[in-house]
Each structure stands twice: as C-alpha cells, then as structure tokens.
C-alpha cells in the first residue's frame, strides 16, 4: 500500500463548538473476495470502505453522526450534528452522560502478521480452482464452490481528552460448500459452516484447517449424507463437535449475557434475556465443568483487540466459572447503568453504526476428556457436527439447532452416519447437563463474521474457541425423508 493511500488523521481536527466531550472513530476496511464455483472463476469483488463517526456529549445528552465525507468540513458537520442531537435529547435521555467518565485511552493493537504480504489474486484462484476440481467428483454433486475473503482493517479512535488508539487487523476467511442431490433428497456439506473458518492473521490458518484437500473430503461427506438414514429420535446423549458447540455458546450463553439485552435496549428487535441482574455471582448456569471466558487476547481469534470502540482496555475475564455465573457482557456505559462490572465489549460493526454491547471472543475453556474418552462413555447417542440451523426464543431460552453431519454412537463406538440431525432444549437446563468437556486436543478456534443485532441493524465479527462436549439427556430428532 502506498503511503499516500493510507488512512490519515483529519487535519485540522474538528472543533468542539459546544460539546463537553467528543470522540472520533475513523474506520477503514479493505476486502478482496474470490470464488470458484463449479470450476468457473467468479469475478472478484473488492471493497474500500472508509468513514468516520463523531460522538458528542453535551448538556447531559449524547448524540452521534457518521459520514463518508472525511474532509475537515465533512467531519466538522458531523460533530455539529452529533452535538445538536446531544442537546436536543438531553432532558429525554435514558442516561445522564454528565455522570460518565471521559476516557483518554492511548495504545495500539495489530493482528499477527498484519503487514506480511498475502497471496496474489492468481495464487488464490489457483488454490480455489484445485479444490473446486476435487469437489466436483460425482454426477450427484450438483453445486460446489470454493471461496475466500481476505480483509484488512484500520480503526483509529481519538478523544477530545487526548486519547488516541490505533488498531490494525488482518482477517482470512476461506470457505467450501458442496451440494449433492439424488432420489428427491438434497444434502449440503461445508467446511465448518458458511464462513465458519474465520481468523485473524495470515494464511497459515489454511494449514490449521487442512484447506488443501478439503474439496474432495467435503464432497465425499456430502455423498455419504445422501445415502444416510435420518437421525433417530428420542432422548439421548449428544457429542457436539467444536463447530456446533460454538453456535450453542453463541446463542445460549453469549447473547443472554449481553448487558444491553438485560437492560431492555434490544426488546423491540433482538430480544431480551432470561438472565437478570440479580443472578450474577450466584446463578448456576451449568455443571461444574462449564467455564466460559471473554478473551480478547488470543492472537488468531476473530475478535481479539486491545480496546473496544469506546476506548476501554480489553482483558480476559471469566463469565461463568465452574458453572456459576460471574459477569455480564457489558461495556462501560451499560456497566454504569446497571451498577455492575462487565468487560470491554462496546463495539460497532462499522463507522456508520454506534457501539453497543456485543460478544467478542467468547470461549469455552477446555476440560480433560479426549475425543475417544467422550465417544467411549456414550452408550446411545449422536455425534453432531457443523451447524446448519439455529433458532432460539427472544429470551434466549427455548432453542432448536440442526447440524449438517451426524453419526450414531452405540455402546461406546461411532457407527452409522445420519442426516438432518436436530436437537432442542432450554438454555437454563441444557448446560447443567454438560457431562464431558474435551481437552485441548479437541479445541478449535472458530468464529463468524455475521452476528446480527441492534437498531439500526449491525452484523459483526465474533470469535469462539471451544473443545468438543458431551451433553446428556437431550431431545434429538431427524428430518422427514
């Protein structure tokens, strides 16, 4: 990148003109998306997204204004608009912003290998074409695609109190999906789900997930599913592989612990939570084996960072320890509203949306069981892998999830492959039936760039690292035919 093409600080900086405090969040994201579908290279799409959000406190109110006009005049207009909103709503604000601290954070963050050169466009297409050729190996395979999105980002945060934070990121998100069809049935198999492989850092993640060779492997699994019977129905044990545990963590731990949901901000859209403020410190969320952390420090994980989007320094913290609920996912403003501690998770998905309480990296800490221990300990159950369906109520309690891949476990051994594995339950009971937690050898560091929430709507990157887990006495069922 030429120096002249870098994101630069506005000069001059905007003038406060009536704001008691202001912050400037300058965001630049660049992305390149490549795909080879059915052996045809798809046209590349490139992105250069730059913009700024100005936030102002005035007279006890707070307002924001975002703009893609990064000229000094454009930024000044945005700050003036933000200040006008703060003043106009000061007496009507849910929060008296006079009582909140004015942060002045200083620091920096960089993804691993953020400045290392990546593959060329030609090299990406060659890799994807190889996997595409391997995937289209049978006439029953009717659609297949190998994809990758590479993205770099630079986020700058400045405050009128002298704060300045620069965070630079690099992401690699490869994907692979194969659809097979025969005899009136269609089965799709993917590599860890749609955009389920997403990490910070360089392309070494392709090796960690054995991307080379995945086309043939995934295609063969899709063909196996076509021949498989439906998942059996009944109450039984389930062995969830990491690419399904992360969905379970996300929906039934991450979202219900978001403090803004508990405070009611999301009730008109994303929903509320079965968790209430009085539960922190005492509520048994799961069995003794359940240890869940907010961990922004794992370098390769998708949502690692040094500061959140309101300038709060980010540190690892336990949310649930030995099954007992300890703290919510709430940023500085929510913490002040609720009078309870939280974490640095006030985040916006881009320059044009305001920060709200979001998951970042929410991880289930490993236990001591090997995969073989877990399989061997199940008399009748199903191994489930790779989420394909997710649905949960607005209090994050009654859920139903489905997976791409199932395999029966009978008398301690993996047996028949089954299709359309689904299970349902209630968050408040489910985690108390957590019976085995896999050791570090079973851990995968995964995540998704597509967590939706907020009004106006936002879709953000979240990371989840998890081992495989066994849950007992779960209501399991399959498809119709």
């Amino acid at each position: 990148m030429a120096d002249s093409d870098r994101l630069t600080l506005p000069d001059p900086l905007p003038l406060a003109r009536g704001a008691d405090f202001w912050s400037l969040r300058l965001v630049e994201e660049r992305a390149e998306c490549y795909a080879v579908r059915k052996n045809v290279p798809q046209p590349p799409t490139l992105l250069l997204d730059r913009g700024a959000m100005l936030t102002a406190y005035a007279d006890g109110g707070c307002g924001y204004a975002a703009t893609s006009d990064l000229s000094p005049a454009g930024l000044q207009a945005a700050l003036d608009r933000a200040t006008a909103w703060a003043r106009a709503t000061a007496g009507r604000s849910l929060i008296d912003f006079r009582s909140l601290p004015r942060p002045a954070p200083r620091g920096a963050y960089a993804s691993p290998g953020v400045d290392q050169p990546g593959r060329s466009q030609k090299e990406w297409y060659e890799l994807l074409a190889d996997e595409s050729r391997s995937a289209g190996c049978d006439p029953r395979i009717v659609d297949w695609e190998a994809t990758v999105e590479t993205r770099t980002a630079e986020h700058r945060y400045l405050t009128s109190t002298g704060g300045e934070v620069v965070q630079r990121y690099r992401f690699v998100m490869p994907g692979l999906a194969v659809t097979a069809h025969a005899n009136g049935d269609t089965q799709t198999r993917t590599l860890n789900g749609y955009r389920g492989l997403a990490q910070q850092g360089g392309e070494s993640m392709l090796d960690r997930f054995a991307y080379v060779g995945s086309g043939r492997r995934v295609a063969e699994e899709a063909l196996q599913l076509l021949l498989a019977p439906n998942c059996p129905s009944g109450t039984m044990d389930i062995l969830l592989m990491p690419d399904q545990v992360i969905l379970q963590i996300h929906e039934s731990i991450g979202h219900p612990l978001e403090l803004d949901r508990i405070l009611g901000d999301e009730r008109n859209f994303a929903g509320t939570s079965f968790v209430s403020l009085d539960m922190f410190g005492t509520y048994r969320y799961g069995s003794d084996l359940l240890n869940v952390t907010f961990d922004p420090t794992r370098p390769e994980e998708l949502a690692s960072y040094a500061f959140d989007d309101e300038g709060t320094p980010a540190e690892k913290a336990y949310l649930i320890r030995n099954g007992i609920l300890e703290r919510p996912l709430g940023g500085a403003i929510s913490q002040a509203r609720a009078g309870i501690g939280g974490v640095a998770n006030s985040r916006a998905d881009n320059w044009n949306r305001p920060p709200i309480d979001r998951m970042a990296n929410i991880n289930l800490e490993p236990g001591d069981a090997t995969l073989q221990d877990m399989i061997g300990g199940i008399e009748r159950g199903v191994l489930m892998s790779t989420n394909s369906s997710w649905s949960i109520d607005d209090s994050r309690n009654k859920f139903q999830f489905g997976c791409e891949w199932g395999q029966r476990i009978e008398n301690g051994k993996l047996t028949t492959v089954v299709k359309n594995p689904n299970y349902r339950g209630i968050s408040a009971n489910f985690w108390r039936s957590l019976a085995r937690v896999g050791d570090v050898s079973t851990v995968q560091v995964l995540g998704t760039p597509y967590c939706g929430k907020g009004e106006p709507s936002q879709v953000i990157r979240v990371g989840h690292a998890s081992p495989a887990c066994v849950v007992t006495g779960v209501d399991v069922f399959g498809g119709e035919g």
């Binding site: 798809q42 250069l48 893609s68 849910l94 269609t186 109520d393």
Partner: protein, 445 residues
C-alpha cells in the same frame, strides 16, 4: 421535481467514468446513498440518537469477457471524489489483467432509463421524536425511529441512467406490559401524520390491556391457529431464502424444489408473485436490467416461475427476469383470500392467535419444514374471543402442510409490510401479505 444535489453528483460521476474508459471497456456504476436519522428508544426515553450520511459507489469494469467489481465510499463532492474514483478504475484494470474469461458474464446493453423521485417535505426527526416521547409518557416503550432520504442510482457506458429517490420514515416500537409480554407496532410512510400515529398507539394500548390477563402455558401439540400478516411475513421470509431462486431451484437447494417438481403442492388459494409495480423497491436491478412489472412465482398452489438473474440465465440457459444476484424477492406479493379479517377470530374459533413469529429456520429444508417461536402479543382464543396471552412456544412444521392441506383460508385484506432491516443501509424491500387460518400447526416446546 428538482434534481437533488446527489442526483447531479451521480451524473458527474457517470460523466467522469464515460470520459475515463479505454477502448473496448464497459462500465456499470451503482450508487447506494442515504442521509438517515436513527433514534433508538428504551423505557420511553432516548437511548441513542444519531445521523448517518453515507455514499457508496459500486463500480463494475468489463473488458472483453473479463470483469471485476470494486465498492468504494465517497464524499459526495465530485471534485474531491475524482481521484478515488479514478484510482478504483485503475485498480480494476490491473485486476482484470490476471483474470480468465467469464462464460457467464452478462450486462445490459439496451438503454432503459428511469427516474422515480418521491421526496416530500419531511418533519425534522427531532420534532417527531418529541411527539413519540410525549405519547410514551408512563409507558414502557422501546423501539427505533429511522427516517430520511434513500438514493439508488445506476449508470453505464451505454448511456443508461436510472434514479430512485425516496424520502420515508419508519417507527418500529413495542409497548411492554411485563417480562416478554408486549405489543409490537409499526408506523411508516412518506409524511408523518400525528393522527395516524395516535390511532396506531391506541391500537397498541388496546392490545396491552389484553396482555394484563394471566398468561396461559400450552403444552406441545397441534393447535388451530390464525397467523396475522406480520406472522406470515416471517414464513414468507423463509421462502425467500433461496426458495424462489432460479439457481437454487436448478441445483435442488431451494426449499421449494419439490413444489417445482410436482411432488409437493400448496392449497389452490396460494399464489405468490414478485410484484415490482406495486412494491417500493427500484424497478432496475444492480446490473442495470429493467424488471418486469410482475413475475408470477406460484399460481393456484403450483410453482410457475422463479427469479432468474442474468448470470443464472447464462449458466442454465434460462430467460432472466431482472432479479438481483441473490435472486431474493424484493416486492413479494401473496394473493388475497376470501376470509374477511374481521371474521378471522370467528373462523379460528378455538386456538392460537399469533401476532408475530420470531427467529425461523429450516429443520428440514428439503421438506420445507420450519421451526420458530411465537413472539409478542399472541393469545389463546375460545369461541372466537381472546381469552389469555400465551407464553412463547416453538413450532416445527412444513409449509407444504401449513399452506397446503391444513390451510383453512387467507384473509381478503392484505398488509404492505416494509422491511425495517438496516444492515449496512436502510432496506427498500417489502411484502404484501394476507393473514391465514390453519387447521393444525405443530408446536413442540
């Protein structure tokens, strides 16, 4: 209607691109811009007020049979944006050099200009919020006001110019009684009307009073049900997730491929179309192709069409009908039935009145089987009268049953439901749907 400054700006951008092309090159350029006010409310007060001014250009460069797209943010000032636009063009040229030919490339060459401008003088957002907050006094109101102009433009090197500019507002709000018991309401349009808002608020308060009754918890089982148009929006939304896509149907990934193959059918009263003429989405798609006024999709319970993007048309030798790359309906229209909405409760007799569904997903896509939750003001009804609110329940059932053998009737009145999503930008999609009475709907949790 006078030309807005952003429309004039887009004309300048197109002129710059026209002058900057090399021999043999073709461009298309799409503008997506808005000046939006967003005011988030909770507990009858302001949680987050703000404004967003954004302008994106999607520049698509074609040379021979090679092509690529670059999306950039711009300031909206033609002078300042000249350099980044030319830099994007240069980047695309460099990208094209290393690409193979694309056998599925397709772009519009016949010039079909259009211009739609609907921008009435609007009240300032601050004034509207004052009205809403006054109405919320003493109530637990939570929601979002979104308003302001949204711009969509298209230009290409053949001289086509399309412009779509609409200034609108949307207030989506919920009045909470307790815990998860609430009435969800929406008021949207082009010019704020205090009387219309007051009527909406009065309806919501009526629903709130019903929520004050002790709630009933129902066990798993099959229940007769009335689905309001809002609840139907969630079911139709799932069908839109690849269901009507020409590409998904050809590759058997559509949840409706059995309907297309004739191995499943819907009730003869069920008909769907993509009704661009009566929706609010632009009449041109991202690559500049014009959309027909209406594309029939399902007629009398049988699949008769699909949404076909020009790229899909090339791949499968089909005729395209102006669909975007996602092949998702943007103005889905479901034909009205014969049940007067006022008679829906009587026709339900005893069962569930479902005002809203929530968080649907497929439990078996091939069988078009969905799962999801009831949400907001849903009630138990006996003898055609509302008896009690119900606690949230999970359903798991096939659309082939719900809108097939189990369908009792569709209402003769329909609602125009404007999509309130604002991921990346304010959505311009809508659906027009009736309510539905169904004989049995399976609830599982």
């Amino acid at each position: 209607m006078a030309t807005s400054s952003i429309e004039a700006y887009f004309g300048d951008v197109a002129g710059l691109l026209d002058r900057s092309l090399a021999a043999g090159e073709v461009y298309t350029c799409r503008l997506d811009a808005e000046n939006s006010d967003f005011v988030r409310l909770n507990r009858g007060k302001v949680r987050q007020p703000g404004s967003v001014a954004q302008c994106y250009l999607r520049l698509h460069l074609v040379s021979g049979h090679r092509h690529a797209e670059q999306c950039i943010t711009v300031s909206g000032d033609a002078g300042r944006d000249r350099e980044p636009i030319l830099a994007a063009l240069a980047r695309l040229r460099a990208t094209l050099a290393a690409l193979p030919d694309d056998p599925h490339l397709s772009y519009a060459t016949d010039v079909r200009p259009s211009r739609v401008v609907r921008s009435e003088a609007a009240l300032p957002a601050e004034t509207i919020i004052e009205t809403v907050l006054e109405a919320a006094r003493g109530l637990d109101l939570v929601g979002l006001y979104a308003g302001g102009p949204v711009y969509r433009g298209f230009a290409n090197s053949f001289g086509q110019r399309n412009w779509h500019e609409v200034t609108s507002f949307s207030l989506q709000w919920s009045l909470y009684h307790r815990a998860d018991k609430a009435v969800k309401s929406a008021y949207g349009g082009f010019a704020w009307d205090d009387a219309a808002f007051a009527a909406k608020k009065a309806d919501a308060r009526e629903g709130l009073a019903l929520l004050g009754r002790p709630a009933r918890s129902l066990g798993p089982g099959r229940y007769r049900a009335y689905l309001t148009p809002r609840a139907m929006e969630e079911i139709a939304g799932m069908l839109c997730w690849g269901g009507f896509s020409g590409r998904a149907l050809e590759t058997r990934q559509s949840c409706l491929f059995r309907l297309r193959d004739g191995s499943a059918e819907l009730d003869p009263s069920v008909s769907f179309s993509e009704n661009t003429a009566e929706g609010i989405a632009p009449a041109f798609q991202d690559e500049g192709f014009a959309r027909p006024a209406e594309v029939p999709l399902v007629d009398a319970g049988r699949m008769v069409g699909s949404l076909v993007n020009p790229r899909t048309a090339r791949e499968f030798t089909l005729v395209h009908n102006g669909a975007n790359a996602s092949e998702v309906p943007e103005s889905l229209d479901m034909r009205a039935g014969s049940v007067a909405a006022a008679d829906a409760l009587a026709m339900l007799d005893t069962g569930l009145y479902i005002s809203n569904l929530w968080y649907l997903n497929f439990s078996d896509r091939t069988a078009c089987r969905l799962t999801g939750m009831t949400r907001f003001a849903s009630f138990w009804v006996e003898g055609g009268r509302i008896v009690a609110p119900v606690d949230v329940m999970r359903f798991d059932d096939s659309v082939f049953r719900l809108l097939g053998q189990e369908l009792v009737g569709l209402t003769s009145e329909r609602e125009l439901l404007v999509n309130s999503d604002s991921y990346h930008q304010r959505n311009a999609n809508s659906m027009r749907l009736p309510g539905a009475v169904v004989r049995e709907m399976a609830f599982t949790l």
